[in-house]
Every structure is written in structure tokens, then in C-alpha cells.
């Protein structure tokens, strides 16, 4: 009896089908698994979006509600990225440089948004700031109504995307050579000067990564947004909400048109993200971390 093992099997296969190898099989298997899982659904969006021709696709995109939804999503994403980069950097700085009681607890708490389902984030914001909410019921008679407005949506997005910026900046901050900082202090730079001229430049790559991640997550945010926005067309309806509403109303082409645009935007963002990361990793080989 022939010894049955992988090598013999491969050898016998190779005799029958020249050119075949483990590598080829594994790659084919991976492709077969990923194709229906990832590639086909995304392909379906583009196929349905352009099914009735390019002019209908552009028509669906040019409607007032669709344009507003896209612009609103981009605006909220931009504002969220800017605000959270400031907040995230500050938090990372405090957490890595300062010592204070319950620091561990704080570190865990501020990473909570990643673990909480976004719908719960939305619900909790409503329960706090809504007209019947814990704080909201005192603000409501004063005319301050943060929920069901763009401000409310921004608040929800800030909450949900905060850990991404933090998680991007903090490791890099902690890895920085303290000697550079100390050298700056000995040369007479204050805390602020050190931060601006020594620390911040080395964070450029991490900040960019964090910003892009935050931007991408904010673009696609649905769970919290659907709770706090009131889903008002032309006022608080973001792109994901628009897609959902249009699909429910039966306008599949309109929904898929905007979905296709969002998909392309996300691809672009992650493409740039990858290139930046590649650039940084090749430079990690160099000793000097201050240049990015």
C-alpha cells in the first residue's frame, strides 16, 4: 500500500494536473470563501445601482434629499474627525504623561463606546438629553433641545468614534522616546512648546490614521444616528438613514445609488490609510521617529 500523506497526494495530483500546488489550492479556497462573503454583496450594490443605466443613477443621486444626506454625512464626519482629533490627542497625552488615582478605571471607561452597541448609545443620549430626559427636562423649557438636530447627531458620532482616535494616538505617544522630550525641556522649551514642536510632529501619522478611521466610521454610523436624529429629510437625515428609508419605501435604485457613493468613499479612505501605514512602517526602520 502506498503511504498516503499530503506529499504523495500532491505528487499524484501534479502528475494528473500539472502546475497545481498547495499554494494555488489555498489561494483558490480563500477566494471562494471571500467572494460570496465580501465581494459579491458589494458588487450587488453597484450592479443594482447602475442597472437602469448611468443617467438614472445620476438622476437618483441628484435629488435634493440624496444630496443633502450625502453632504450632511460628510459634514458630520469632518467635524467629528476634527473635534475628536483634538479631544483624542489631549486624552492620550493626559493618560500617558500624567499619573492620577483611578487611572486604570478611566482608561477602561473611555474605551467603552467600542463595546457598546451603537443603538444603545443613541438611546442613552435620548434618555439624557431628550425633552423627557434626566438633564433634558430642565433644558427643554429653556428652549435648549439638543436632540433631533444636527448637533445631536454630532454628539452621537463624537461618542461613538472617540475610541478610534484614542486607540490610534495613544500607542504612538507612549512609544515616543522620552529623551527627546527631556532634551527639549533642558533646552528651555515649556510644556506647550515641547508638545507643539517635539511631540506633535511625531504624531502626524497616527493622527492621520485616527482621523481617517473616525471619518470612515462616522460616514457609516447608523444605530445611534437613527435614534437621535428623528430621521428628518433635508434636516437630520444622514446618508445611511437615507439609504434605509429609501429601501423601505421601495426606491431600491435611489438607495443603492447613495450606497454606491458611500462605498467608493470608504474604499478611497481606506486606500489612503493603507498607503500612509505602509509609508510609516517602512520608515520605522529608520532610527529617527520624529520624522514621518
Amino acid at each position: 500500500m502506498e503511504l498516503i500523506n499530503a506529499q504523495n497526494l500532491m505528487a499524484s495530483f501534479r502528475r494528473k494536473v500539472p502546475g497545481l500546488s498547495w499554494r494555488g489550492l489555498v489561494m483558490a479556497g480563500l477566494f471562494l470563501a471571500l467572494f460570496p462573503l465580501l465581494l459579491m454583496p458589494i458588487g450587488a450594490i453597484f450592479i443594482f445601482a447602475t442597472r437602469d443605466g448611468l443617467s438614472r443613477f445620476l438622476n437618483a443621486l441628484s435629488g435634493a434629499a440624496a444630496q443633502f444626506a450625502l453632504r450632511l454625512s460628510l459634514l458630520i464626519a469632518l467635524l467629528t474627525s476634527i473635534l475628536n482629533s483634538a479631544l483624542g490627542t489631549l486624552t492620550a497625552y493626559v493618560l500617558s504623561k500624567y499619573r492620577f488615582p483611578a487611572k486604570r478605571a478611566v482608561e477602561i471607561l473611555i474605551n467603552l463606546p467600542v463595546a457598546i452597541p451603537t443603538v444603545i448609545v443613541g438611546t442613552s443620549l435620548l434618555l439624557l438629553w431628550g425633552p423627557l430626559g434626566l438633564v433634558g427636562k430642565y433644558l427643554d423649557p429653556l428652549g435648549i433641545r439638543p436632540m433631533f438636530t444636527m448637533g445631536g447627531v454630532l454628539l452621537a458620532h463624537l461618542f461613538v468614534t472617540f475610541p478610534y482616535m484614542l486607540g490610534s494616538v495613544k500607542p504612538v505617544l507612549e512609544e515616543l522616546e522620552v529623551t527627546y522630550e527631556e532634551a527639549a525641556y533642558t533646552m528651555g522649551a515649556g510644556r506647550l512648546g515641547t508638545f507643539w514642536y517635539v511631540i506633535l510632529p511625531s504624531l502626524r501619522g497616527a493622527l492621520l490614521t485616527g482621523t481617517l478611521l473616525t471619518f470612515a466610521h462616522s460616514l457609516g454610523e447608523f444605530g445611534a444616528t437613527v435614534m437621535v436624529s428623528g430621521n428628518l429629510r433635508l434636516r437630520t437625515q444622514t446618508a445611511p438613514l437615507y439609504i434605509f428609508s429609501q429601501f423601505e419605501a421601495g426606491n431600491v435604485e435611489a438607495a443603492n445609488a447613495v450606497a454606491a457613493v458611500l462605498a467608493v468613499l470608504s474604499f478611497t479612505i481606506f486606500f489612503v490609510l493603507l498607503r500612509v501605514r505602509e509609508g510609516r512602517s517602512t520608515q520605522r526602520g529608520a532610527v529617527d521617529v520624529n520624522r514621518s
Binding site: Q67, F68, R71, L72, L74, L75, L78, L126, G130, P131, L132, G136, D140, R145, M147, F148, M150, L208, G230, N231, L232, R233, L234, R235, Q237, S245, F247, E248, A249, G250, V272, R275, V276, G279
Partner: protein
């Protein structure tokens, strides 16, 4: 390209940022706090098309003619229960059209509505549409009535009572049909049939519109929905043999309300004008065109696709909303069928009922889908 390499990636990112900000500028041109007069309107799901494509442009034209002003509308549509809850939690609705009076009543009890909408024309009802059944081409499962939905193996797409107003109307129609098809009415039998129907439900749609979507994609054998959905889609891929008019069904009547709390004094004339507009012939004709039955019944002839219904019940026949809600939806459906709580002693409707002619007739195949004139 050496030039590109020089600017990559920061230059490219800067360029993208500039483009992005340029794209966002029109948002501020609209005026984020709108300087134009505006109305915030919440409507239940199937109203989206008629309102956004018919009613709003017509009102905007009429208002511009009268005052020269352009009115903006901020709208949100969803299941009637969904929008009622949103408004209860503080959504800034100024006008809302619900699927049924019960949603409006709950908001009134919560103090959000001061104006009594039943004082509006036609008791505040803007349009109506009965509950019907939609089946697959050729009606392979031979469904002609609600009774046929209780058979084994029939998969029903039904709106979800937690979020959709259509669901309440459907339960009332189903139970009403079961109850009144016997003389004298037999509540035990009716409850048993409703229970069997409920077990056949394959998918709950979050709204009438969402339920249509599910059926359209290919799920289920039969859809319980508003006639408006069937009429609207007739000719858009839906054919005569797919719409079934049950012999005994209920007219869904849709009230329009306004939320005084959210309306500043200066805006009252505009809101009142919009509400009044809903009952003008022009608006009612638009509703008829999109498949709703007008409250001005003489206009209904304009749409040839309305079904021939033998005897639709109205909520008044069932004793009015509080009676129907507590007697049927709460006592029978919720407590007995969903919670299986047999200690509840409810026989359905509290007030005495007389059998309604036509509701006694058995399912007649010839009755389904004959156009009314």
C-alpha cells in the same frame, strides 16, 4: 510622476479636503437654520409617495400664489407607531398624519396635542383605505378571505403591531371578520382563528411600506396590507388576480393632527393653511390618484382600480377606538394570543354588536378584485 510623488500623500489629502469643503458649502447656502418658512411633517409609511410627490408641491404652488413665499418641508415617514414614539421623545413635529386615532390619542394624553383634531373636517380624517390581501399570481393557495389565512401552510407577511399602524387595523379587520361572520357572533371561535392566523405569520414588517417590500422581494404567500398599496402598484407589476378583497374588512381612517407645543405663534396661519389644504378637492384628488379613498366620496370615481367591497366596517361599527383597542387589541390579541393569559375575561368587544350584512357571507371567489365604479 515626480511631481505627484512630491505632493503625495499630504498634498493629495489637502486637495481632497479642499474639494470636500467646496462640496459642503451649499449646505450653508441653504441656511442651516432655515430662513424660509417651513413645516415639519411626520407621516406614516405609505403616505411618503403621495405627500412628497403630490401634496407638498401642490401646497407649495398654492402658497406661493397666495403669499409669494416659498415654503420648505421637512418630512419623516415611518410606521405610525414609530413616528408616534419619536414625537413622544421630542421629535420637533408640527403636523403629523397617523394611521389611526389611537396613536394620536396617546400623544394627546401625553400633553403634546392641545387642539382637538376631531373638530377638523371629517373628524380630522384625511383619507381612508381598507385592509385587503395581496397574493401571488394565479392565487395558488386559493386565498379569498381572512378565513383562508388560518389554514396550515399559508405564510403571511403582516405588519408589526409594535411599530405599524396598519397592524392594528389588520387585527381589527381579521378579528372583526371572524367575529361577525357568525350569527350570533362567537368570540371564542374568533379568538381561536386569530390565534391560528397569528401562527402563520412568517415575517413582521416594521411598517406597511416595509411589509410590501418584503412581499415584493419574494417572501410569503399572502400580504395583509392597505388597499392603497395594491391600487398604487396595480399596473406596476401587480395584476388583477393578485389582489383579494375580503368579504368583511375594515376601513382604515387616517387623522391629521398638529402639535401646538412645537408651533410658534407666528407660524400658526401657515400650519392652519396647510391643514385646511388637505381637505380641499385638489388635495383629495391627489390622494385618490395615489390610491387612497377620499373622504369626499364623490371623487373616488376617478380611480378605476378601487376594489369592490361588500361591507367594510368602520371603527364606529367596532365601538370606537378606546373600545376596539381595549376590547380586541389588548384583551384578545395581546393578552390571550401573545401572552397566553387565559385569566383575562374578555369577549372582545364590550358594547353589543349586530352582525353586519355581508360579513356573514362566506368567502366568495367571485368577490375578489372586481373594480368598483
Amino acid at each position: 510622476m515626480p511631481l505627484l510623488a512630491k505632493f503625495y500623500p499630504w498634498g493629495l489629502l489637502l486637495l481632497l479636503l479642499v474639494l470636500l469643503i467646496a462640496y459642503l458649502l451649499p449646505l450653508f447656502a441653504f441656511g442651516l437654520p432655515a430662513h424660509r418658512p417651513s413645516i415639519v411633517l411626520y407621516g406614516f409609511s405609505i403616505l411618503e409617495e403621495p405627500i412628497t410627490e403630490g401634496i407638498l408641491p401642490a401646497f407649495q404652488r398654492s402658497w406661493k400664489q397666495k403669499t409669494g413665499q416659498e415654503v420648505e418641508f421637512y418630512t419623516s415617514f415611518g410606521g405610525s407607531g414609530t413616528i408616534a414614539n419619536l414625537i413622544r421623545f421630542g421629535a420637533p413635529a408640527e403636523v403629523a398624519i397617523f394611521s389611526h386615532n389611537w396613536d394620536a390619542d396617546k400623544l394627546k394624553q401625553a400633553g403634546l396635542i392641545q387642539t382637538d383634531w376631531t373638530q377638523f373636517p371629517h373628524h380630522g380624517v384625511v383619507n381612508r383605505t381598507p385592509i385587503v390581501l395581496v397574493v401571488r399570481p394565479g392565487n395558488p393557495k386559493r386565498i379569498h378571505n381572512f378565513d383562508d389565512l388560518t389554514q396550515l401552510g399559508v405564510r403571511i407577511i403582516h405588519p408589526d403591531p409594535q411599530t405599524s399602524g396598519a397592524a392594528y387595523w389588520s387585527i381589527l379587520a381579521e378579528y372583526g371578520a371572524f367575529l361577525l361572520s357568525r350569527n350570533p357572533p362567537d368570540p371564542i371561535d374568533a379568538q381561536d382563528k386569530l390565534s391560528r392566523l397569528w401562527r402563520n405569520i412568517a415575517i413582521f414588517g416594521s411598517s406597511a411600506s416595509a411589509s410590501w417590500r418584503q412581499f415584493d422581494i419574494g417572501f410569503g404567500d399572502v400580504l395583509v396590507t392597505y388597499e392603497q398599496q395594491a391600487v398604487r402598484n396595480f399596473g406596476r407589476g401587480l395584476s388583477a388576480d393578485e389582489i383579494v378583497a375580503p368579504t368583511c374588512t375594515v376601513y382604515a381612517e387616517h387623522p391629521a393632527v398638529m402639535f401646538d407645543r412645537n408651533i410658534p405663534q407666528a407660524k400658526r396661519p401657515l400650519i392652519s393653511a396647510f391643514l385646511e389644504f388637505l381637505w380641499t378637492d385638489e388635495a383629495q384628488r391627489i390622494f385618490v390618484k395615489f390610491g387612497f379613498r377620499s373622504v369626499s366620496t364623490e371623487l373616488n370615481g376617478a380611480n378605476p382600480h378601487f376594489l369592490h367591497l361588500s361591507s367594510p366596517l368602520t371603527i364606529a361599527d367596532l365601538g370606537g377606538w378606546p373600545n376596539a383597542y381595549h376590547g380586541i387589541i389588548e384583551d384578545v390579541w395581546e393578552k390571550k394570543i401573545i401572552e397566553k393569559d387565559e385569566t383575562v375575561v374578555g369577549t372582545g368587544l364590550r358594547s353589543g354588536l349586530h352582525p353586519v350584512p355581508g360579513c356573514e357571507a362566506r368567502g366568495d371567489p367571485a368577490n375578489s378584485r372586481r373594480p368598483d365604479s
